[in-house]
């Protein structure tokens, strides 16, 4: 390990939204940290608060959001207390974000060149230097004939190329932390494979921290060192990726893994029921109505996040019972290929 200091620290973060008189508790008591060059993943179903958390990190939340508790510390700076001026320096240059839909995230009436140059603003660069750097970046993300494509608009690119162009534009700011919100969800598997490898290689080359948000455990496995499983705004389990896949210690994680078709079982084991509404969370553990080992205490008290093994946290009253449950991979067996 080179740099042991944390790049980003989030502590006890809560985010509420006010809509039509309701108080939507989107994120509750979220704590995590990311080191330089480390990749962390958030996984969970739609509405679990994974995107909200990531948007809070670059202060892109809607106006009706409020943060009643928690801290976001980036390199000793309190992100939540930053002024607009400080935010301008922080966004893009320190933390960059790539979105699921490049078509909506990038400006359709500006060329790639213009959008790339915006990132160079404030830097002492000549026109030639800017152009050279822009072409270099497009080449780095694997866009063929970058000299020509620099003056094209985003709609002239194909799906995979759009995502690459967005990554190149984000990289132009030389962020230390890259947040990727479902970067491959809209893409085909072959293109997804290319983007995953691209993110991995860039992370290694530029020693960036990565925060990847996805609902696909496969993508997490291929990119992240550690992972947090989110459910109804809570972190329910957090550990390194390998341990999570081999020995999940929360019934929701087990449910997620079991629900993936693996070609072995005749019938899938879905998690019964639906995700709860964030306006009206069940009492006690939010997962209790769908949980196969729910007991009385689960419907009364929200379980604390406990460390079941060193570095392995689970938010379940009966996490110990999950010991011995085999996940989707076997640690004793060597990885294939």
């Amino acid at each position: 390990m080179k740099d042991e200091r944390n790049l980003l620290e989030v502590e006890g973060l809560c985010i509420h939204f006010e809509t039509n008189g309701y108080d939507v508790q989107a994120v509750q008591d979220v704590t995590f940290s990311i080191k330089k060059g480390e990749a962390m993943g958030f996984v969970g179903e739609s509405g679990c608060g994974k995107s909200t958390t990531s948007r809070a990190i670059i202060r892109l939340l809607a106006k009706n959001a409020n943060i009643p508790a928690g801290k976001i510390i980036y390199k000793d700076q309190d992100v939540l207390k930053m002024s607009q001026d400080e935010l301008r320096k922080y966004r893009g240059k320190e933390v960059g974000m790539i979105f699921q839909e490049p078509m909506t995230a990038l400006n359709p009436v500006l060329t790639i060149r213009t959008q790339m140059y915006e990132q160079f603003r404030g830097k002492d660069m000549s026109k030639e230097e800017k152009e050279k750097r822009a072409i270099e970046l497009l080449r780095l993300v694997g866009i063929p004939s970058p000299e020509k494509r620099l003056d094209e608009y985003i709609h002239q690119f194909s799906g995979g190329m759009r995502q690459r162009a967005m990554i190149a534009i984000v990289l132009a700011g030389e962020p230390k932390l890259l947040i990727a919100d479902e970067p491959t969800t809209a893409l085909d598997v072959t293109i997804q494979d290319q983007i995953i490898k691209l993110i991995n290689n860039l992370r290694e080359e530029l020693d960036m921290g990565v925060l990847l948000i996805t609902h696909d455990l496969g993508v997490i496995s291929q990119v992240c060192d550690k992972v947090a499983v989110m459910y109804a705004g809570f972190f329910v389990e957090e550990t390194d990726t390998l341990t999570l896949m081999a020995h999940p210690m929360h019934p929701y994680t087990k449910g997620l893994i079991d629900a993936i078709p693996n070609g072995m079982t005749e019938e899938l084991k879905p998690i019964p029921g639906n995700t709860p509404s964030l306006i009206d969370l069940p009492n006690g553990c939010p997962f209790s109505p769908r949980c196969f080992m729910c007991e009385e205490i689960c419907t009364k008290e929200i379980p604390p996040m406990v460390e079941v093994d060193p570095g392995h946290f689970s938010r379940c009253h009966f996490a110990e019972r999950m010991r011995g449950y085999k996940g989707v991979i076997d640690l004793d067996e060597e990885g294939k290929e």
Partner: protein, 337 residues
């Protein structure tokens, strides 16, 4: 295996979409160009089977399905449904046929009319096809809803009041209401969360058995297709490249494209991380197809022959079809990259 009855048969089916020509193209006498979405496809769908149709976006899988239903008009070739040639039937002639072929769409948010209650929707459908007497309609609706796991309360509610998974159940109920023989499911689970996806997949399997349904299941998700299908048809740029029993296709991967597609799916084991993407670039445009085999520009095994003449889809035994000169069992082949 006993000879299975064919429900759908297509012979050299072609669906081309003409590209709008600019006025200058007329002046210069440039030839009319076409997007060859479905190009000479001959497949058979047997009764009571689930045929999975896989391929990247833009490979023509949806167009093929829509052409079979005559939602798109074929350019050339023949479609037989249950022994009847429906290629050139008028809408009036098709009406009684439509009852036997139904479709479930990908996005349950846009495929249901937001201003009609679920009860009214199903009622209209049942009465249109004269499937039961007006006094029995209510009972029939309840039966259908129970089958897909919904209750009576749903009849009075609007689609917007349901979650994604529930809407997809309703969409399936709508398809089933007329007691069809063939259901085409176009990416029915890709808009859903993993835990809900498993519920819908299980439901489709049960319904297939109970109603003796034939399902043409379109998806880009390979784990899903492996789980649900009896046979798989892999498409690339408007052509079928491999067709066979699910396990044969998954285990042998005779066509290099099938192999790459299967390997591109992200592994759940974090120890299996490759450095390089398996395949670079995008599929070529379906307007200007490369000569010879359509896959040759991206194929690691391409030879001179592949670049000049297009391979035919041929039976290699055990009802396994493949369109490649250099097909081989890829299960043990290590790709050198």
């Amino acid at each position: 295996m006993a000879e299975q009855k064919k429900l759908v048969e297509t012979e050299h089916l072609k669906t081309y979409f003409p590209i709008k020509r600019k006025i200058l193209d007329y002046v210069a006498r440039k030839p009319q160009k076409y997007v060859k979405a479905v190009d000479d496809i001959s497949i058979e769908v047997y009764e009571n089977e689930i045929l999975g149709l896989v391929g990247e976006s833009g490979c023509g899988k949806s167009t093929l399905a829509r052409t079979i239903l005559r939602l798109n008009d074929p350019t050339d070739g023949k479609i037989e449904f249950n022994g009847t040639d429906i290629t050139h039937m008028s809408n009036k002639e098709l009406k009684p046929m439509r009852r036997n072929m139904q479709m479930v769409f990908q996005d349950p948010y846009s495929s249901l009319d937001p201003r009609v209650t679920i009860g009214d929707m199903l009622k209209t459908e049942l009465l249109y096809h004269n499937l039961c007497k007006p006094e029995q309609v209510h009972q029939r609706i309840l039966d259908i809803l129970t089958e897909v796991g919904m209750d009576e309360e749903a009849t009075k509610r609007y689609p917007s009041e349901f979650s994604g998974g529930q809407r997809q159940r309703i969409a399936i109920a709508r398809a089933l209401a007329v007691d069809p023989q063939l259901v085409i499911a176009d990416e029915p689970v890709s808009a859903l969360d993993v835990s809900i996806q498993a519920q819908i997949l299980n439901l489709l399997k049960v319904l297939r058995k109970d109603h003796n349904l034939t399902i043409l299941f379109i998806t880009h998700d390979l784990s899903v297709v492996r789980h649900i299908s009896d046979r798989i048809c892999v498409m690339y740029l408007g052509k079928v490249v491999e067709l066979g029993e699910t396990e044969d296709v998954f285990n042998q991967r005779l066509h290099p494209y099938t192999d790459i597609l299967l390997r591109s799916a992200p592994s759940l084991d974090p120890r299996n991380r490759a450095k390089k993407a398996l395949i670079e670039g995008n599929p070529p445009s379906p307007i200007d197809l490369p000569p010879g085999c359509r896959f040759n520009p991206r194929c690691p095994y391409a030879t001179e022959e592949c670049r000049t003449t297009e391979p035919e889809l041929k039976d290699v035994g055990n009802k396994h079809w493949v369109a490649c000169y250099h097909y081989q069992d890829h299960s043990n082949v290590k790709l050198t990259l």
